[in-house]
Structures are given as structure tokens and as C-alpha cells.
Amino acid sequence: MKSCISFVGLLAVGNCDHISQQRSPTHKRFRQFSKVSISKHTSSNILAERSRRSNQHPAIYNIRGGDTSTSSTSLSVSATMASLFAGSIGGAIGVGISYPFDTLSTKAQVSTGKEGQQLSLTKSIGRIWKNEGVRGFFEGVLVTVSIRLTILIRIYDICITYLMYLFLMYPTHFSLPSLFIQCLYTIDCNILLL
């Protein structure tokens, strides 16, 4: 949530170095997401898939249920770190720039809870400007932005989201060590957008 964590072409792969035909990483990620959400996992084809994959190493086998020919087993940490870094910075700047809207919204909400007359949106903007200046629109922005940049909280956020998603979409492949490794390797921009 923030902090909310927000969600979600969850299925993207950080390691797309080897795929040069793709139009762009975003495109690839997005298509993968659509593909997997369309595919229906009946119990019979899950059984088949399960037996087919059972001899693969849990840490590297394709938990996403995507086509194994398009997703490599050589995972790249630097791609993950790049995604994490770019997502954190992007999220922080996004939150920072959109922050005045949030302030207006909060002020309106708080004044609704109090007696007295309601200010219209334009009047509210004028009043903040007059009383507090530009800083008035950005009160409390530091705590919100810094949380976007706090790597531990971001990882927690991402892992929770990703774990829940994988657990529910592909429960047959659920095991803690493999999921943990998957989480670290497959952090995607769309999760970071939250």
C-alpha cells in the first residue's frame, strides 16, 4: 500500500536477456500475464504438468506455468536488482509528484468529519497556498516517499504479494524455499508499481 503496496502483471520474468525478438520487456511481461490468466488449469492437466516437471530442480523450475521454451533457467540477479532499483525510484517519484492530490483528498476527508462548512476544491487549494505555501501541499511526503525507497519494506511488500499470488495460482508447486528463490528472481515492475 503503500505504501500500499499496489499490483499487476505478476508473472514477469526479470531475466529476459536472451530474448531479443520481443518488442520490449514490458510487452513480454504483459503478454505473459494475459496468457497465464487465460489458461485454465484443470486438475488433469495439473497432474500431467506436475509429473512432467517433478524431476526439475524446485528452485529453477518454472513456477509460473508459462512456456518453458521462452523462459530461461539461467536467472540473472542483476536484472532483479535493476528492476527493484528502477521500481523503487519510479515509485518514489510517482508518489512524490502525485502527493498534492493526496493532501487535498485528506484535507477534504478530515474536514468532512468536523462540524462547519465544507470548502470547495478550489477554495481548499487557495487556502493551503495562502496559509502554508508550496510546502503545505507536501506535508508528510517524506515518510511516504522514504518508505518507497526502503529496500527491506519493498522486498517484504513484493514477496507477500508474489507469494500469495503464486500460492493461489499454482498451489501444486508451492514449497517455501523454491518460492523464496522465485520471489528474489522474478520481481517485476508491475508489482513495484503498487
Binding site: 503503500k2 500500499c4 500475464f33 488449469h41 536484472a79 485528506t106 476527508q109 508528510g140 511488500d157 514449497s175
Partner: protein
């Protein structure tokens, strides 16, 4: 060795249980419902981080101060803080650590659960729709992110307004008289309904929707630019 065996057997058991769970439920559950459940759990777990951060943010935003950092006479019996650290320090001193982490936690959980679920489901539905093919790989996630943000905010906004009002009130330990004035979520909901009817629950929605769109657009743009610098060989 024994530990390894134990881990393996636990893994195996978990796999079996979850597989049976899926087999039993797969006929009645579509992927969208699964996504909704995933969103619910994610929302539940993230609330514990979100709640204190939003508490500080709301205290900072709701203060009415003038340029020379004095209280605005027209409103506000609340404190005036110089910065976030000042605000946290004041809260710990006057309300205690417990209030910092627990004040408004329940209402945050109530808000986060449907909002995460709505976001998941809306994004999933949009990604499956034919609009995704028309828009292409760059525009689709950008637009869908904003639309999913709106789908998340509109239904959960009434809960958000109650949460903001609840967290904006101070609960000072020492002051018994003031403590009685602190309303819980249910009382706030009743008060809002009496004062403004259903429309009262949607005050300030427009900036929130604008924020969702701007935030998604900027975040996505910066992400793409930075990834272009960091991993230039991916894109060509």
C-alpha cells in the same frame, strides 16, 4: 541430514495438502476468484506496514498551520509539527508506541483487503480483454494500472474516509477527558451518515482518482527510463 529430511517431508506434505485443496476447489473457483483471494491475503499482511505510515502521513497532512508555523486560528485543535520525525516523537511521547502501530489498524485492514482484491480483479479482467491487444505492450499496462487504481478507489473510498477521520484524532494517554471524545469507526460512520448522507462518504474522491492516474503514469515512465539505462541490451 535429519533436518533436510524433515524439511523435505514438510514440503511434501504442504504440496500434497495444497494440491488436494486445489483439486477440491478448482471446479468452483475461477482464476479471478483466486486472484481476489490472493489480493485479500496480500492486503491483510501489508496492513501492518501501511497503518503506521498512513497514520503519520495523515497527522502531517491534516494539520492547519500558517507560513510562520503557528496554528491556524480558524481551525485545528491539533498539534503542529515541523517534520515527520517531530510528529513521530510527539506521538510516542503522548500516545505511546502502541498507538503508533495500532491506532486505526483494524480499519486499515478492512480497507486494504477489498482494495487489493479489487485491484487484482480489475487488472486481470482488463489484461484479458481485447483492449489489451489494441493498445499494445507499452500503453496497456500504463492505462490499465490507472484504471485498476480507479476500480480500487471508488468502492473502498467510504472506508478510506472513515479511516482518515479515525487516524486524524489524537488519543492522548494523560488526558482522560479528551479520551472520551475519541470516536471509533462505527461512531464515525454513523456521524458521517447523519451529517451528509451517502454523498458525505465521497468527499475528496476526485483528487484521489487524479492521484492514482498521475502516480501510475509517472512511476511507469520513470521505471521505463531507468530500465533503459540499466539494462540497455534488453530492449532492441
Amino acid at each position: 541430514m535429519i533436518g533436510q529430511a524433515l524439511i523435505k517431508s514438510i514440503q511434501f506434505a504442504v504440496n500434497e495438502i495444497t494440491f488436494l485443496w486445489l483439486e477440491k476447489n478448482t471446479t468452483i473457483q475461477s482464476n479471478l476468484i483466486k486472484m481476489a483471494i490472493a489480493g485479500t491475503l496480500a492486503g491483510l499482511l501489508s496492513s501492518f506496514v501501511v497503518s503506521p505510515i498512513e497514520l503519520v502521513k495523515i497527522r502531517m497532512q491534516s494539520q492547519n498551520k500558517t507560513v510562520d508555523k503557528k496554528k491556524d486560528d480558524n481551525a485545528a485543535d491539533a498539534e503542529v509539527f515541523n517534520n515527520e520525525i517531530d510528529c513521530v516523537r510527539w506521538m510516542v511521547k503522548n500516545e505511546g508506541w502502541k498507538a503508533l502501530f495500532c491506532h486505526g489498524l483494524w480499519i486499515t485492514i478492512i480497507r486494504e483487503i477489498p482494495s487489493f482484491a479489487f485491484y487484482f480483479v480489475a487488472y486481470g479482467m482488463l489484461a484479458k480483454s481485447p483492449i489489451a491487444d489494441i493498445l499494445g505492450g507499452h500503453a496497456a499496462p500504463l492505462l490499465f494500472g490507472a484504471m485498476a487504481g480507479w476500480a480500487m478507489w471508488i468502492p473502498t473510498y467510504p472506508i478510506d474516509i472513515v479511516k482518515t477521520i479515525e487516524q486524524a484524532q489524537t488519543t492522548e494517554k494523560a488526558d482522560e477527558k479528551k479520551k472520551k471524545d475519541v470516536l471509533n469507526s462505527r461512531q464515525i460512520t454513523a456521524k458521517l451518515y447523519r451529517a451528509g448522507g451517502l454523498r458525505g462518504f465521497f468527499d475528496g474522491l476526485e483528487p484521489k482518482l487524479a492521484r492514482a492516474a498521475v502516480k501510475h503514469a509517472v512511476t511507469f515512465y520513470v521505471y521505463e527510463v531507468l530500465m533503459g539505462f540499466l539494462r540497455p541490451h534488453i530492449r532492441n
